[in-house]
Symmetry: none
Subunit: 226 residues, 2 copies
Amino acid sequence: MTIRVIIVDDQAMVRAGFAALLAAQSDIDVVGEAPDGRKGVEVSRSVHPDVVLMDVRMPEMDGLAAVRELLSPPAGVVHRPKVLMLTTFDVDDYVYEALRAGASGFLLKDAPPADLISAVRVVAAGDALLAPSVTRRLIADFARQRPAPPSGGPALRLNGLTPRETEVLELIARGLSNQEIAARLVVAEQTVKTHIGKVLAKLGLRDRAQAVIFAYESGLVAPGDA
Amino acid sequence: MTIRVIIVDDQAMVRAGFAALLAAQSDIDVVGEAPDGRKGVEVSRSVHPDVVLMDVRMPEMDGLAAVRELLSPPAGVVHRPKVLMLTTFDVDDYVYEALRAGASGFLLKDAPPADLISAVRVVAAGDALLAPSVTRRLIADFARQRPAPPSGGPALRLNGLTPRETEVLELIARGLSNQEIAARLVVAEQTVKTHIGKVLAKLGLRDRAQAVIFAYESGLVAPGDA
DNA sequence: GCCGGCCCCGTACCCGGGTAGGGGACAGGG
DNA sequence: CCCTGTCCCCTACCCGGGTACGGGGCCGGC
């Protein structure tokens, strides 16, 4: 039983390299390639691979959107390939979104070739695999449910929110009023309102109550770390 | 720079096997062993290893308690070794507790020797590593945040709220406006306001945003069941 | 240099939400 | 029987929050 793989990456050289590497394995077949997310989704829908190797950063449709498109069943789509995300540099914040969207793994491109190959096999088998540094972050984030974060910096950035907006959102999710948030951040209350307005608009929410819900559902805050 | 390791496991044969395996590596030194958690903590405190290989199930003090003891700084303890948990059978629920307690990794004992060795190196480097099946579970759990419920049936009435009030509270936590709640319950909007007012008063909350927080923190609603 | 993103602040307006304080109906238990 | 609790509904008021629109300063990238 060979593992059918497609490779989605905007850099042709990268695709060629991975393809050569994987095709050399007797139990892996590279059955397709695509230069961007949109085409990747199309190719996946037509060839039905077992595993999709997907770069994060791409033109036209980035890996994240592609994963969502691919794994959210938009009608009568029965085929759900495993998705292995790839990223060039270090861990970026897309990790969390990708995992939530249903990705089975996350690797750095500079990982040893043997790791990539075994990752494909692991994912195809229905298990998951993360780069060690990613695992570390995930665990840290997971463990963060008991202890209060000492530094508590809002370095994380989800859904196109700016750091400041994310910070405000978290304070909303802590139950603070605009006045209290303003005091905490040492800015005018109107500035807080502006930030909140942008947050609501960007996330498609109506009021702060829905913002709190979003914060919990997205994992920005979790029950227990009050 | 060699990696100093101690092995904590109640089975002498297992200890010997791992010790031989690891000692054969030029960059790894086995500097101690212990047959149970309590002695493991003692040994760790005296020899200050970089990595502690710890079995989950052990007499006297199990691996879980040992990790907590080891990683929760109970005074002026500066030394915090990395802990790599080992388990014989498949994933048990201790995984989550161990990770929360600060373990850096979780492996099955039947993993390939090469995996164990590389795991020690990865953990020593400050990264984390999980068995693929563990990773899968962690991701799944992370994707739809469901912190282990303390069991028990649905507390129909929490904190002295009437059923109706609880119902209203849940709808607030779903993001509905007063108008929408009124429509849903087929009552006047003012009635909804009254109920909400009582809820807020009884729970000591200020506004509906804080009510949403309470709903999540109390478990009335949980992330993922939107 | 220019442009775009981010952060900050303002004024003005409107409305949903929360408060205060009533009242009517029905149930069950002392 | 009365009393307590729950659910329902009302008027009236006020304020926090959200919207609309404008502007200034800062920085990094093209």
